[in-house]
């Protein structure tokens, strides 16, 4: 119990931008060897004054193999300052780490030694199944009243997927969040506009549609998700669905404006079956209805078929496969990961319906295999994937692995894991830091989600502008 609020809580995103620089990153490591080695939670030293800057400070192995750790989050965050359910004297000290493959959820305590998280609780898959009816937990967000976790499917790996809650004191699963899901079946990400009591959710596919790898039949048949859903956050009821168009397959990461008075946000669609492009849509509230408009198109890049994996040879082109996006806390710069083409792009989204590209850097890529400036001459594979931006909006950290069975299709030679950093200029330009490249090749596991100590641009939500 604290006397003053946890110092990492900020009433507004504006103020969170003045937070001290991050000293550590937590990174999920995925084992792909399949020889009984567990996944890990790595800590990376981000303190430029430290001799260990840009190196792995430690790795905590999970107790059992086979979890496939995904988008972990904090027990509490700045949303604890919200006026209607205030509890500001709790500590941001636990990481809630979901295993997408195993449906297991781990709780790590990072308070005593932030570089060495301590496992304090494990929620077994059976408990999740029984209490929530869901499986495959994926994304964790700290809410005003509980920890919210998205789950991709039901206990059989079919639809519907949805959201369940964990008590933020005991970490016990509290059951399904939805009181009325309306037509919603597929699920992926969720986040909210706290100022408008609205949740937005997105669609990937059910576990049975994704676990064996991308299914070309489903893709060509436009069966993967392509809709957004708006929900009443208080009543837990479905309000509206927004169809982005079924050619835009897989609507993934949701980045609502951090300012609670604004009513827009951004979502990426991974691939268009018409032209292999990836797209960003802006959703917005107009005359009481939620709408979406395509605002960024990232086209496929022609490439020599000899350089391409089997499913892409016929096209002679590399799809950008945008798989993650991140929005700076001032709602100004949107970072976009094009995992297929190996490019990290930046857009000025001050005018959310008219984004303007401001930066680009390249590492890896299916055909490009671009080197990192820290190790020129060494071809890199994988591409910018999970991207996380520091609270001050000046540094983007990104890793190169997506999801095991999908990694293997697009990078069949096996992804060698790395984590890189790009500095973001005042004008939104990007520059790779040649002095920051964490190479996970020695460990052998692949990095995925990144969380920054104390909070980052996709960890906290705010009730004050």
């Amino acid at each position: 119990m604290l006397i003053q609020p946890d110092p990492t809580f900020y009433p507004s995103a504006r103020e969170a931008m003045r937070a001290p620089r991050e000293g550590l990153a937590y990174v999920a490591l995925l084992d792909t060897g399949g020889e009984g080695r567990p996944d890990g939670l790595a800590t990376i030293d981000l303190d430029p004054e430290s001799p260990g800057y840009g190196t792995v400070a430690g790795v905590h192995d999970m107790p059992v193999p086979g979890d496939e750790l995904h988008h972990f989050g904090w027990n509490v965050c700045s949303a604890a300052l919200c006026p209607y359910a205030p509890h500001p004297h709790v500590e941001r000290r636990y990481l809630v780490v979901p295993g997408l493959r195993s449906s297991r959820v781990y709780i790590f305590d990072v308070k005593d030694d932030p570089a060495r998280p301590k496992l304090v609780k494990t929620i077994e898959p059976e408990t999740i199944f029984e209490r929530t009816g869901y499986s495959r937990p994926h994304t964790v967000h700290c809410g005003t009243d509980a920890i919210y976790v998205s789950a991709l499917g039901d206990v059989n790996g079919d639809a519907p997927g949805g959201v369940f809650m964990l008590d933020h004191d005991t970490f016990e699963p509290l059951g399904q969040w939805e009181a009325d899901r309306g037509p919603q079946r597929l699920h992926y990400d969720f986040w909210w506009h706290l100022g408008h009591d609205t949740m937005i959710s997105s669609e990937w596919g059910t576990p049975n549609m994704i676990e064996a790898g991308p299914d070309l039949g489903l893709l060509v048949g436009r069966k993967y998700g392509h809709k957004l859903h708006a929900w009443d956050l208080r009543k837990r009821t479905h309000l509206q669905e927004i169809d982005l168009g079924d050619q835009h397959q897989m609507a993934l990461e949701l980045r609502p404006s951090h300012d609670p008075t604004k009513t827009y946000g951004f979502v990426n669609t991974v691939i268009s079956v018409e032209d292999l492009s990836a797209n960003i849509f802006t959703w917005y509230l107009e005359d009481g209805a939620w709408k979406a408009k395509k605002t960024i198109t990232i086209p496929a890049e022609p490439a020599d078929p000899a350089l391409l994996p089997e499913p892409l040879k016929q096209f002679g082109a590399v799809p950008p496969l945008v798989s993650d996006i991140s929005l700076t806390l001032d709602d100004r710069i949107l970072l976009v990961s094009a995992w297929g083409t190996g490019e990290l792009l930046a857009f000025d989204v001050s005018d959310p319906l008219n984004p303007r590209q401001t930066g680009s850097v390249r590492v890896g890529g299916i055909a490009g295999r671009d080197a990192h400036p820290g190790t020129p001459g060494t071809a890199r594979n994988g591409g910018p994937q999970m991207v996380e931006v520091s609270r001050d909006g000046r540094r983007a950290y990104f890793t190169n692995s997506l999801y095991r069975s999908w990694d293997d299709v697009f990078y069949p030679d096996g992804i060698a894991g790395w984590m890189a950093k790009a500095d973001i200029g005042e004008d939104g330009s990007l520059a790779l830091d040649p002095g920051f490249l964490v190479d996970f090749a020695a460990d052998g596991r692949r990095p995925h989600q990144v969380r920054l100590q104390g909070g980052d641009s996709s960890s906290d939500s705010f009730c004050y502008p």
Binding site: P5, S12, P83, Y84, H89, T144, D197
Partner: protein
């Protein structure tokens, strides 16, 4: 009602008004969301009414018991209730969770009623109201209204002042430093008030 009672009731009113969880912060948040001071001010009446309602219900229930029960057992029962609630607040630190940012006036009043009740705002005042030997219903009713009125006036003054000063001058960044954890003080105040009822 003597001067001590007025001071204690007003003091508790100020203490409750000071607590961000009792409403002024909600008023500020609604003002910021609408970018209007009018929204801050419009939120205050429902918040204060909800709080006053909770206090009045608590005091009135005990006053009703007093019309037909002997004073000593009532005092001891109140002492046990208030102390017990204080101890419970010490041990169980959960926060009420209801509504969101888009609230109507009645919802805001309901929220405030719930927050005051869950924190035992009325219970804290009970012991100081157990004086006097007049057990006539009419006299007790008048007294109860006066007690709740004094308390509410003090709560309103502090809440309104804080809401306007934070909205206009300080900004919500003040929360990071100045939002002291009042849970312990609150529990101690309850236990102290309960002990007072037992000893007098």
């Amino acid at each position: 009602m003597d001067l001590t009672q007025v001071l204690v009731l007003a003091g508790f009113g100020a203490f409750h008004g000071l607590n961000p969880a009792m409403g002024w912060l909600f008023a500020v948040a609604l003002g910021l969301q609408e970018r209007s001071r009018r929204a801050v001010l419009a939120a205050l009446p429902p918040i204060v009414l909800g709080h006053a309602g909770s206090v009045l219900v608590t005091l009135a229930l005990v006053a009703a018991v007093r019309t037909s029960a002997p004073p000593k057992p009532v005092s001891y029962a109140v002492a046990a209730l208030v102390c017990g609630f204080g101890v419970w607040k010490l041990l169980r630190r959960r926060h009420p969770r209801w509504v969101g940012m888009r609230v109507t006036g009645p919802q805001l009043a309901g929220w405030s009623f719930l927050m005051a009740t869950a924190h035992g705002a009325g219970l804290m005042l009970l012991p100081v109201t157990l004086t006097g030997h007049d057990r006539a219903a009419l006299a007790l009713s008048g007294q109860t209204l006066a007690f709740a009125g004094v308390h509410t006036l003090a709560m309103l003054t502090v809440t309104a002042t804080l809401a306007v000063v934070v909205y206009e001058k300080l900004g919500v960044s003040v929360l990071r430093r100045a939002w002291f954890n009042l849970d312990l003080a609150w529990a101690v105040a309850l236990i102290g008030a309960g002990a007072f009822a037992a000893l007098t």
